[in-house]
Symmetry: C2
Subunit: 340 residues, 2 copies
DNA sequence: TCAATGGAGTAATACGTATTAGTACGGTCG
DNA sequence: CGACCGTACTAATACGTATTACTCCATTGA
């Protein structure tokens, strides 16, 4: 009674039903290969399996057939970060929801500098999502070369653009923000962005520059990660004739926070004295007016990435496009004023 | 160049190094079984492995050795719920942090009514955590019988208490709240709890009842899930001489929300007109004063559960205790007034 | 009566690694 | 000079399932 009972396997079913293990495998596999089987045998096998409470061993299944219904999720920071407002959160929620909808399980890998080969462990899954600003080029290249299906969440240009990804169309969305400002009469704009060179930053800048050129607005770009932004800087910009600030959205919200604080300290009212737009949304829980900008469809990103990965794992049904950009719906907000 | 290159396996290394696959396995496994090997052979094998970029196949490894460095996490609701304030969140963060610290990967299973046998898939991992109010008794019993290591997060009484778990000591913490109220002079207490019968609810009630009996306080228990709570109920209680309300904390915070709303509608001030304590913490983001109660050490729960599971997976080092309760630190708060 | 046909199921093998029993060989000792 | 021993490996097998080529048997047709 107290003994450890092994889980039943196909061989046990075979013994009970008086057939071979191969027959059991065929029956339970739905006989997709067209082996001749009598209905009675089929039923006997099914009944025995039922009685023994058989459940296939996923490991063996995977070893034998190279398919597992398992999708990997590789993150470079903890997937459950301590600060709940983390911007990855909705993406992960989307990933999980879609994976559940497709009947796939999710296996999570967190990068660890202590274990450099961690990335290869992803091969336990049928395919793997990658989430994070960073790209470990060597590891990814190996996986790609081995034909292992991967999908990056976020646009990626590394490895000659051969990395499948699902990203947000920051270029268009950022351009639209500038256009919106121009329509409101803003032609002198200060643009604050991260020093970091990630595609998501670069895309925003390209969109901003292109639109500024298009509408004939003057644009000055400042690279900052926040701390050096103070009331004096902001006052100087306004003195120079700037009427609108455009701030990049980042993981941490550092740049936005710094800007908002500097504006407060300088006693500058928004949008009374200056208009403000975020290339995205301000960090969760920021008090004050609804900031103008655009929505990053994070949840949809997660879902779309899972769908793409699933289609890569499941061959056939035509080669899906390996790159996909989702549009970011504009947020009107209350921080863009019309100027003469 | 574009060809799909297979990952190298031990057999490939063996060919290159001029030895057998078995030898490769022994060398790469650190020769823990004490096979005699010459140093030169060892180096040749290691060098070949290095040159070929060998990485062990985790699936085969698991099949052969029944150990995988993989811990399962089974949840009955999505692990990344849409409402970020979810109370499971810190638990999951703790689970992930500790798993990462131990070098284990995490595989997530979300219960799905569509796939009833989902629970057995947990066997892909070396062991599995369960998180949720619900216990699928049959599935769990099977896993236990098969000797599969599992740990519930939250105290569990099902199956004769044989389910290993890590929980919070709600009994003591709840008792302490009543004691605190009594010390402040409150002897007529109304206790609001969920209709649902989960151990976490029952434990709180036992603690509350025991302490009330101990200090000689009169106690009336109301089971509610919120909607039927209105201003009139609250007024009636006060009219009956009640000076303190004690509210159970739940996943959704429904009972607390309803109580808080009813108090507001009735124009009753806290703690001026009535004292209020939560058996836990109110939902994240609730405005108003700091509610008295206790902290549920969720993050620590997650960590402790992972540690227990890891010790179950890793046999030896003595049998660990299968049940563990963490203490809940009291939160003084501002909602308990002293009465004459 | 023999070949051809078709139905029912199985033997064999692959997947990649871990483990254990065993082999081959050279040297030493009595 | 054979028994014995230590060294350095390897053959064989297990893990549990999927796949495919094959066998065996009963009919049918000429």
């Amino acid at each position: 009674m107290g003994r450890v009972r092994r889980m039943p396997r196909q061989a046990d079913i075979a013994r009970v039903a008086g057939v071979s293990q191969a027959t059991v495998s065929v029956v339970l596999g739905g006989n997709r290969t067209g082996v001749r089987l009598s209905e009675q045998t089929r039923l006997r096998v099914l009944e025995a399996a039922e009685r023994l409470g058989y459940v296939p061993d996923p490991v063996a299944k995977r070893l034998a057939s190279s398919r597992n219904n398992l999708l990997g999720l590789y993150t470079f920071t903890p997937a459950f970060p301590v600060d709940v407002a983390d911007s990855y959160y909705p993406i992960l929620a989307g990933v999980e929801a879609e994976a559940a909808a497709l009947g796939k399980d999710l296996i999570m890998f967190t990068a660890s500098s202590a274990v450099p080969d961690r990335i290869r462990r992803t091969r336990l899954a049928d395919g793997c999502l990658f989430l994070g600003r960073h790209v470990p080029v060597d590891g990814i290249a190996d996986l790609l070369a081995a034909g292992f299906p991967i999908v990056y969440i976020g646009r990626r240009t590394e490895l000659g653009g051969r990395i499948p990804h699902v990203g947000a169309d920051y270029v268009s969305a950022s351009a639209e923000v500038i256009t919106r400002l121009a329509r409101a009469g803003h032609t002198r704009v200060r643009y604050l962005r991260e020093p970091d060179d990630a595609p998501s930053s670069g895309d925003r800048e390209r969109g901003v520059r292109a639109a500024a050129a298009d509408v004939g607005a003057s644009l000055v770009v400042t690279r900052t990660d926040g701390p050096d932004l103070d009331a004096a800087s902001v006052r100087r910009w306004l003195a120079d004739g700037v009427t609108a600030l455009v701030v990049e959205e980042t993981d941490t919200g550092a740049v936005f926070h710094a800007t908002w604080r500097a504006l407060g300290e300088a006693g500058i009212s928004v949008p009374g004295d200056v208009s403000l737009a975020v290339l995205g949304r301000p960090p969760e829980g920021t008090p004050g007016p609804v900031i103008s900008g655009f929505e990053v469809p994070r949840r949809a990103l997660g879902r779309a990435a899972v769908r793409l990965l699933a289609s890569l794992v499941e061959p056939g049904a035509g080669e899906p496009s390996l790159h996909r950009l989702l549009t970011c719906p504009p947020v009107v907000g209350e921080t863009i004023a019309t100027v003469a």
